[in-house]
């Protein structure tokens, strides 16, 4: 995959966000992101973060089944997942809560699905920080152990989704099945 294509994929949600922003703030199409743009953005950023997360999980399976070896792109995809996850939290805190810290603390304590989401993000942080080659050199074998945290993150994300299901479980199911399939391919298929 050429670098340009990778950067395009990572930038795509940002381009869509920028376009929406333009439509609302400048072109005056106030309902472009529905009457509750904050809620729309929380869902949008969350879904893209999950998308990138699953992409990082697909790298090893794709190599194992002998398709493509895109290991060099995994770091950037992982960082994109982290970036959009942070944006997801920011949108929630700013656009849904109006930066009311009391509610945020309440959410942490009383809402299990938010707590699971926060933990997932917290899990991604040390991996984002140690994503550079410098850190890889410094931690050596421990780097690989640390980055296995991703498996915990994926479970937390799946929990975060299922705990929000009110009656339509399509997204939660799709993400769970994809993660399971990738997990199966990663661990069960013949080593490349």
């Amino acid at each position: 995959m050429p670098n340009v294509f990778l950067w395009f994929v990572i930038a795509l949600p940002a381009i869509l966000l920028g376009y929406g922003f333009f439509k609302i703030q400048i072109a005056g199409d106030l309902l472009y992101w529905t009457a509750e743009p904050g809620k729309y953005l929380v869902h949008f950023t969350g879904q893209w973060a999950i998308g990138f997360l699953l992409m990082t999980f697909a790298i090893t399976p794709m190599r194992k089944i002998g398709w493509v070896n895109w290991v060099v792109y995994r770091r950037r995809l992982g960082l994109a997942a982290f970036a959009y996850a942070v944006l997801h939290l920011a949108c929630y805190a700013v656009m849904m809560l109006g930066l009311d810290l009391n509610i945020l603390v309440d959410d942490f304590a009383k809402r299990p699905y938010i707590f699971a989401g926060m933990l997932a993000l917290a899990g991604m942080l040390p991996m984002a920080v140690t994503s550079t080659k410098g850190w890889q050199r410094r931690l050596k074998r421990k780097w690989k152990v640390l980055h296995k945290l991703m498996y915990v993150v994926v479970v937390l994300v799946v929990v975060h989704l299922w705990w929000q299901v009110r009656q339509d479980f399509a997204l939660a199911l799709m993400v769970t099945l994809t993660a399971l399939l990738l997990g199966l391919l990663r661990f069960k298929s013949k080593a490349a």
Binding site: L31, P37, D107, K110, R111, R166, Q167, F169
Partner: protein, 315 residues
């Protein structure tokens, strides 16, 4: 403040039935043919309604009409907020009838126009508070639920009213959704005294025009002191029953959605606080947060109904 022009109806305004029916057939045919749409039989060519004004909500700022008609929870037409307006044509409202059953003297299947012809319409501006913590102010047009139900003469055995929405999976894509756990058709209910309360309203229009499909055409309930999911849309059956009916959301998630569902800032939803709400439309950086009022601000008219009830228990 948008105040629609009103007309006080008198006997002289009543159209002779034969002429009324002739016009309806012509309008339905002509407009239907021209637009390829199915329109409710009683709607006029422009679907503009004639109604009187009431004092409700005169101090509230109306939510813009395009917001009211494009941001809807009507899962029969899809679960996205703008799915109902996008899939509005899936709802077929022509020749609408309502089945009235249970403990009442007059039961049977009635054409909607026959039910409505006894009652002049009025406009009521009500606040609508969704359980999801967003809210709107909507100028509904319709008639009081009490005056509609009185036509059927419910007996003393009628303790609750049970409402049912259309079940039409052939046309309504949301009812064919394999990933939905909702047990169609949608059912809601009220205690008899709640139903007879002055505020309970059956809406057939909004913003002076016939109800758009996505808002629950051709007729829907509006109970402004309860969370929006109680205000059942596109009603096809009204049943007078003796015991509390099993309602759709309560059956689906009993710890989240109760039968009473009175707007109550002191009782949290398990997943979010109900102490405040976002008055739509919200901007990107302006969430228009409004503190939620007990009974959505209608305590004066409805608090008496719950005088001896623990509303934390009966949420």
């Amino acid at each position: 403040m948008l105040i629609k022009s009103s007309t006080l109806l008198t006997e002289a305004d009543v159209t002779p039935e034969a002429v009324y029916r002739q016009r309806r057939r012509f309008m339905q045919g002509a407009v239907g043919a021209a637009l390829g749409l199915s329109m409710p039989a009683w709607a006029t060519q422009s679907s503009a309604l004639t109604y009187t004004q009431t004092q409700y909500g005169q101090q509230d700022t109306l939510t813009p009409e395009d917001v009211v008609t494009s941001y809807n929870n009507f899962y029969e037409l899809g679960t996205g907020k703008n799915d109902p307006v996008k899939n509005a044509s899936e709802l077929k409202t022509a020749n609408w009838s309502i089945e009235v059953a249970g403990h009442a003297e007059k039961t049977g299947v009635f054409h909607l126009e026959d039910i409505l012809k006894q009652n002049p319409l009025e406009e009521r501006i009500y606040r609508l508070r969704c359980v999801e913590a967003w809210s709107m102010v909507i100028p509904w047009v319709g008639l009081s639920l009490a005056s509609m139900l009185k036509q059927f003469a419910p007996t003393s055995k009628a303790k609750y009213v049970k409402f049912t929405t259309l079940h039409d999976p052939k046309h309504l894509s949301g009812q064919r959704n394999a990933f939905s756990t909702i047990d169609w058709p949608y059912v809601e209910g009220l205690r008899m005294d709640e139903a007879m309360n002055e505020l309970s309203f059956m809406a057939t229009g909004l913003y002076g025009k016939a109800l758009p499909n996505q808002n629950g055409a051709p007729i829907r309930l509006v109970v402004p002191w309860k969370y929006g999911f109680k205000s059942i849309k596109s009603i096809v059956k009204i049943e007078f029953v003796e015991s509390e009916p099993e309602t759709t959301w309560n059956k689906l998630a009993p710890h989240e959605y109760g039968f009473y569902a009175n707007v109550n800032p002191t009782v949290d939803h398990p997943r979010w606080s109900q102490a405040s709400e976002r008055r739509l439309p919200t901007g990107l950086f302006n969430i228009r947060k409004v503190p939620t009022q007990m009974f959505n601000g209608y305590g004066e008219q409805v608090a008496y109904l719950y005088k001896h009830m623990d509303l934390a228990k009966y949420y």
